[in-house]
């Protein structure tokens, strides 16, 4: 009722709101969660990755990205690009085929699903008869060959997905001329591989799982060659000239087979177990790449000795005497080789190997000596160590940007400088409006600096804090040091390393001052490091101080982890951010809030026990304040264990959700009968409902009291130059907000610059505000006389912000999880408030001031609060009047980790984790929108002639059709007319098919 009565349906404002706010999820950064399939088009130079949740993502040149999602959310099993087309076919684990195409729409290409198809066998046949195991898109672009579990090969017409039944290759037909004894020993079983002859499109190599390989002539529908393999087959690969092919097998061997017209049943030329003689694991995929100098590249996946290296995920590259087994950090999903695809080229000349592992993408430069890795411009593994926090800094000054890049480039010397080999498509998005940095803190004590300006989230620089501390792990312990003659010649590649040496190293809070290059980083064991950017390597001692936050409170015992041990003496730091001050909180609880003021050279930090202020210029602790309530035993004993167990239980519940989702999906996939499935689902739902009724979830309704746990937990710290004591003099101040709804304000006396080192910084408590609703305080902000938030330190000095209005009266905004409240200053009296929880039942999780510009008029912009609630909604609330402007659902409310990971930018964008390895980027602003916009053109070179020819034929066909009949009624007659034409006009079956499909497309 209140809502309707509220004034504010002002049409002018409503129009302005439309010009200011708009919600879009723009792009997913990082590495796809649970990838399951890989595809590559040498023609388009695009790579496709499918995931277990049914997503398909295409990547080309940096900035060229497409994403599609299968409705079924089933695992993508295989991806195949149609040769020389902007089309690809996906096979899902429910045995359905999907045709996707890239079409231009409004100037940019879009990925769309065109068709779906499920292969159906004759009535009464078992489901295995049509279970697809191998897919071959024929180079004619007209047919898709589908190998199945039953050994039959079905032919689908493209793009209509119509089964050409008369062209099905049955196992009986294949077995006709196979010797009796071989035949008896083994039947065909499932089709493992289908490979088209590189020179003769009418010949297709068919590999069956039991080892039989057949060269099939499509023209005459008969087998021309039989290759009687003795080992279970894994895969096949044609050599470029088509005179030989390679097969790889379950026992870790591979064979070369000759193909010639004289011997229809040849013996293998070579049969080799590369990592023998002891039993080896299967070689699941093999490439044989020819080079100009005659020494081929043999590249194969797996084949490691079963007993000693059976757990490695390896791909071996053999080139003459050079051999390396690349050892990946996670399971290899699939890989491909980029080689010369020019049909006229004589040799393959491989340039790069692209490997999709479960947790990262690794690209190896095969051209440069030593086969170094290539630094990918996208698909970064954000989770190489679990992300523990993130911090976004907008609009980085060019100077700092360049310094960070130069520090990063020194770390990346071991990467190849080969240009990124997957370069299809054209990025037509406008250049990013500004340089943005996203900093992620990780469990292993590192901070990664990402270029978050554009579509490609790119690692610029990695900072490690580990060096400051003494840890169990020896930093010199290098996994890569291997003896020269080590066998197998394993080489570790990739950065994914989820195992942290010491959980205390975890980064919890980050604060970067973009003007001064000061960085403060705080971690799990109460460590606070202040760093400075240095362009050179340096060796120096880190100043060390301890902050006893319990002060004289007695009788407390900390049962949590110990503080980190520090290294004595000078420590060598590489170029980049180098720590010069370390403050360790005592007790060493997780640092829960952090603020840095680079102008006053002060850093403030808080834990569940209290907060402190450190002067990093004089390297002196200014004060500490204990916020602990004496009865809060939980906080005393060490919250970490409990927080951890909570995290664990959360993780478990996620797992449970995921498992149930997977199982329900599996169920859907397995049973063909839909009504049965529905029934089962209904029963399942009922069961779970009953289960719920048996053990109802209860929630206690109780007002918060001061004795609740963790009321002293410091949630937010804020520096402000404002009127704290009286309205005539403003002074530096530090504000702290706790979990129990208390705000402390300290008046600071910072000596002027010329006496900065001589006089101590002083602090005195000036105010304490207890919010009666006692909700945790998540944000504190001071608005100046124009109701604009105070600028960041040094912002005014760099002429990047108007100096704050010190004439009018300042206001204090306190945001708790439940309410927004504006108070007057210096005399604190409540001015207005917005209750959120009391009215809507949601709580504030994240809040930031964001600047929104109008998309219509360049000179209009305003500051608002961007708020994320625990329900995953995003709300925009106006300043200073606290009016709700707009609300968007953004994250599922069950996605607790997504909500916890959300970070807003200063210009109305944001990021949150949709999986451990992926950030979703969203935008609330009409003006600042970073999203992929790209074009993929079909290169015309390859088959210009052919196309021309074909269109001529089509015209002929159309003409003949036009003269034949006047209207409608195509169908059987049409096909007959096609046959007629075949005799009358053409002898080329291919062209005929083309015509046919055109006619059918038109029908």
């Amino acid at each position: 009722m209140r809502r309707f009565l509220r004034p504010g349906h002002d049409p002018v404002r409503e129009r302005l709101k439309r010009d200011l706010f708009q919600f879009n999820k723009t792009v997913e950064h990082g590495f796809p969660h649970q990838p399951s399939a890989l595809g590559f088009s040498p023609f388009l130079h695009l790579m496709a990755i499918g995931t277990r949740s049914g997503a398909i993502k295409l990547y080309g040149a940096p900035g060229v990205e497409f994403m599609g999602l299968h409705e079924e959310n089933n695992t993508v099993m295989q991806i195949h690009f149609i040769p020389d087309q902007c089309q690809l076919v996906t096979l899902l684990d429910d045995n359905s085929l999907h045709l996707w195409s890239l079409k231009q729409h409004g100037g940019a290409s879009e990925l769309r699903e065109e068709h779906r198809f499920t292969l159906k066998g004759p009535p009464g046949s078992p489901p295995s008869a049509t279970q697809i195991t191998a897919v071959l898109p024929h180079s004619s672009r007209e047919a898709l060959y589908l190998g199945t579990e039953s050994g039959s090969i079905f032919v689908l017409e493209l793009p209509s997905f119509r089964v050409l039944e008369d062209r099905t290759i049955t196992s009986e037909a294949v077995l006709q001329r196979v010797p009796e004894d071989y035949c008896n020993r083994r039947s065909c079983e499932l089709v493992e591989a289908l490979r088209e002859h590189p020179k003769n499109p009418d010949q297709v190599l068919i590999g069956y799982s039991r080892g039989l390989i057949v060269l099939w002539d499509l023209q005459n529908s008969k087998a021309t060659h039989h290759f009687l393999g003795s080992q279970q087959l894994e895969n096949l690969y044609w050599q470029r000239d088509g005179s030989r092919f390679v097969s790889c097998h379950y026992d870790g061997s591979y064979c070369q087979w000759p193909v010639s017209s004289d011997n229809r049943q040849p013996e293998p030329l070579e049969n080799l177990v590369p990592y023998g003689p002891f039993p080896c694991k299967a070689i699941s995929k093999i490439y044989w790449q020819t080079t100009k100098n005659g020494v081929p590249y043999i590249i194969f996946q797996g084949g490691m000795p079963r007993a000693s290296y059976g757990d490695r995920h390896s791909i071996s590259v053999v080139h003459g005497s050079q051999q390396t087994a690349f050892d990946f950090t996670s399971r290899v999903i699939d890989f491909f080789i980029i080689f010369s695809s020019e049909p006229t080229a004589e040799f393959d000349d491989p340039s790069a190997m692209v490997v999709l592992a479960e947790e990262e993408l690794v690209v190896i430069d095969l051209k440069s000596a030593g086969w170094p890795a290539v630094h990918p411009p996208y698909l970064a593994s954000l989770h190489c160590s679990a992300i523990t926090c993130s911090h976004h800094v907008s609009n980085i000054p060019l100077k700092l940007w360049e310094r960070i890049i130069s520090a990063g480039s020194k770390q990346n010397v071991h990467y190849s400088n080969m240009p990124w080999p997957i370069d299809g498509g054209t990025n037509i998005a406008p250049d990013p409006p500004q340089r943005d940095l996203l900093l992620t803190g990780h469990e292993d004590g590192t901070v990664r600096f990402w270029d978050a300006s554009g579509v490609c989230l790119h690692l610029l620089y990695k900072l490690s804090t580990v060096r400051v501390f003494l840890t169990d792990a020896d930093p010199n312990d290098n996994m890569n040091t291997m003896g020269e003659d080590e066998w197998p010649p394993l080489r570790k590649v990739g950065t994914f390393d989820p195992y942290s040496d010491d959980p205390r190293l975890g980064i919890q809070k980050i604060y970067l001052c973009k003007y001064s290059g000061y960085l403060a980083v705080a971690g799990t064991a109460g460590q606070v490091l202040v760093m400075e950017l240095n362009d050179e390597d340096a060796e120096h001692v880190v100043d060390h101080a301890e902050a006893d936050l319990l002060q004289d409170q007695e009788g407390y015992r900390w049962k949590g982890h110990e503080k980190l041990k520090t290294r004595d003496g000078p420590v060598r730091f590489e170029a980049g951010f180098q720590p010069f001050v370390l403050v360790q909180c005592q007790p060493p609880a997780v640092v829960t809030s952090l603020a840095l003021h680079s102008e006053w050279k002060l850093v403030a930090f808080g834990t569940s026990h209290g907060f402190g202020l450190f002067d990093h210029q004089q390297k002196r602790l200014v004060f500490v304040k204990c916020t602990l309530h004496p009865s809060d035993q939980l906080a005393l004993e060490g919250p970490l264990s409990r927080v951890k167990s909570l995290k664990k239980s959360l993780r478990q519940s996620f797992r449970r959700i995921r498992r149930s989702r997977v199982s329900s999906r599996k169920r859907r996939g397995a049973g063909g009968n839909t009504s049965e499935v529905q029934e089962a689902n209904a029963k399942f739902d009922q069961d779970t409902l009953q289960e719920m009724e048996l053990a109802p979830v209860q929630r206690k309704i109780e007002a918060r009291s001061a004795e609740d746990s963790f009321t002293g937990f410091v949630r937010t710290l804020y520096f402000a130059d404002t009127f704290l004591r009286d309205s005539s003099r403003h002074c530096p101040s530090l504000w702290a907000g706790t979990n129990g709804g208390t705000v402390y304000a300290f008046c600071l006396r910072v000596p002027p610059a010329e006496r900065r080192m001589d006089e101590p910084v002083r602090a005195e408590q000036a105010k304490e505000i207890q919010l009666m609703h006692r909700a945790p305080i998540v944000g504190i902000l001071v608005l100046d006389g124009r109701s604009t938030p105070l600028p960041e330190p040094l912002e005014v000095a760099h002429d990047l912000s108007k100096s704050p209005d010190m004439q009018g009266s300042h206001q204090l905004l306190v945001v708790s999880e439940e309410q927004f409240k504006v108070f007057t200053l210096p005399k604190v009296s409540s001015k207005l408030k917005l209750k959120l929880t009391a009215l809507e039942g949601c709580r504030v999780r994240k809040v930031t001031v964001a600047n929104f510009g109008s998309c219509k008029t360049d000179d209009y912009s305003e500051n608002d609060l961007a708020v994320l609630t625990n329900l995953g909604d995003i709300q925009i609330i106006s300043l200073p009047f606290l009016k709700l402007q707009i609300r968007y659902p953004c994250i599922r409310k069950e996605d607790v980790s997504g909500i916890a990971s959300c970070v807003f930018t200063k210009y109305g964008q944001g990021f949150y984790l949709i999986s451990p390895s992926e950030f979703e980027r969203f935008s609330l602003s009409t003006k600042w929108l970073v999203e992929p916009r790209c074009v993929v053109d079909v290169p015309e070179v390859s088959s210009n002639n052919h196309v021309h020819n074909r269109s001529g034929m089509e015209n002929a066909a159309r003409k003949s059709r036009g003269s034949g009949r006047s209207s409608g009624d195509y169908g059987e007659d049409e096909r007959k007319s096609g046959k007629l034409m075949e005799h009358a006009l053409l002898n080329d079956e291919k062209v005929l098919k083309e015509i046919q499909s055109t006619l059918e497309g038109g029908r």
């Binding site: 979830v697 105010k767 001015k831 929880t837």
Partner: protein
């Protein structure tokens, strides 16, 4: 009271009401306009006049329909006395100096067994010395049934005044489902239910909420479509002045309009009575009743004080709000001298919680104020 009153219920629409007033051994009879009883002060003056005791300070009491002697000392209880009187309003007047305060309260006249008093007072209460009960104006409402006139009879709107009492709210809610009649027939719909009452908690002590009552609204906002956690958060956010609309699981105790069945609690309002409470909700919805929200500010480690409003949001605060404002000031936020008062107040509402007064170690370092 400035607020216009709803007209008295029509069934009792006799124009006047008989008053029988007793002072010492003397009786006086007179009549009052039922619909226009006027203010307490006028009534007080009238009593002094009819008894011819113009300069004597007296205490005024009346017997309610249960036979309890209840005080009349302000407009509210005066109006209530007038409106409950049927057919006769019996007034008892005592001199202030020799007044027997303990005479007031529940069971005072008839000493009959009251179910609720058993719940509130466990058996050991007999061993305790008799507690001196202060003047009833020090009582603070603990709960009330409100808006009876606008709600369907199957629903009950309960207001719990957590503010000013140390009693925990003391109840739990759960998810559940209830059957609704819809245009498509009977339908099972999800709902929120009370799952447990904590013994000795505010919710239980009122007797107005029970296990399996379905929660329909929280402070005027419907809970349908909201998750259990959302409703939990709403209730906690409103915990200092919680108004819950429930559909009681037990529909037999429903208040029937215009009858004289009273709520079981001594504090509950008579259903059919036009009292000031119906306005509370409306009041809340206008967002003006913020008395539960006065934050505390300590300037320069000095005396804590409540944060005043920078500018009044409405031109006049309603009298009820003002009363509560006073109460909240009494409630210990202003230091020591009024602390005792607060304790005594608490001792009335729950005698067995008195002993924990010392466990509330207030003022640990002179600046932190906890209550």
């Amino acid at each position: 009271m400035s607020r216009p009153h709803r007209g008295a219920a029509g069934s009792r629409g006799l124009g006047t009401m008989e008053v029988k007033s007793k002072f010492g051994a003397e009786f006086r009879r007179f009549s009052l306009e039922r619909s226009k009883p006027g203010k307490f002060e006028e009534f007080y003056g009238l009593l002094q006049h009819v008894h011819k005791i113009p300069n004597v300070d007296v205490l005024v009491g009346y017997t309610d329909i249960h036979g309890d002697l209840l005080p009349i000392n302000n407009d509210d209880n005066y109006h209530k006395a007038v409106s409950t009187a049927n057919p006769l309003l019996r007034i008892f007047i005592q001199r202030k100096e020799d007044a027997d305060y303990s005479a007031f309260g529940t069971d005072t006249m008839t000493r009959k067994k009251n179910v609720l008093s058993n719940v509130l007072r466990p058996d050991n209460h007999k061993k305790k010395p008799h507690i001196v009960i202060s003047m009833p104006q020090d009582f603070r409402p603990v709960s009330s049934i409100i808006d009876v006139d606008i709600l369907p009879e199957t629903h009950r709107r309960v207001r719990l005044y957590k503010y000013g009492t140390d009693k925990p709210l003391g109840f739990y809610i759960r998810d559940g489902s209830s059957v609704r009649v819809t245009p498509h027939g009977l339908e099972k719909v999800p709902g929120i239910f009370i799952s447990r009452l904590v013994p000795g908690g505010l919710a239980q002590s009122t007797g107005l909420l029970a296990v399996n009552d379905e929660v329909l609204e929280v402070n005027g906002i419907e809970v349908s479509g909201k998750s259990l956690d959302q409703v939990t958060d709403m209730m906690i956010a409103n915990s200092r002045n919680l108004i819950i609309t429930v559909r009681p699981a037990n529909q037999r105790n429903n208040v029937v309009r215009n009858s004289r069945t009273s709520g079981s609690s001594g504090q509950s309002t008579e259903s059919s009575l036009p009292s000031s409470t119906p306005n509370i909700l409306a009041n809340f919805l206008q967002g003006e009743e913020e008395s539960d929200e006065e934050d505390i500010i300590i300037e320069d480690s000095g005396e804590p004080q409540q944060i005043p409003k920078a500018a009044p949001t409405s031109e006049s605060l309603e009298s009820l709000t003002q009363i509560e404002l006073q109460e909240s000031t009494q409630n210990g936020f202003l230091p020591s001298s009024e602390m005792n008062l607060n304790h005594s107040a608490r001792s009335i509402s729950m005698e067995y919680e008195v002993q924990d007064a010392d466990h509330k170690s207030l003022e640990e370092d002179g600046t932190i104020i906890t209550l």
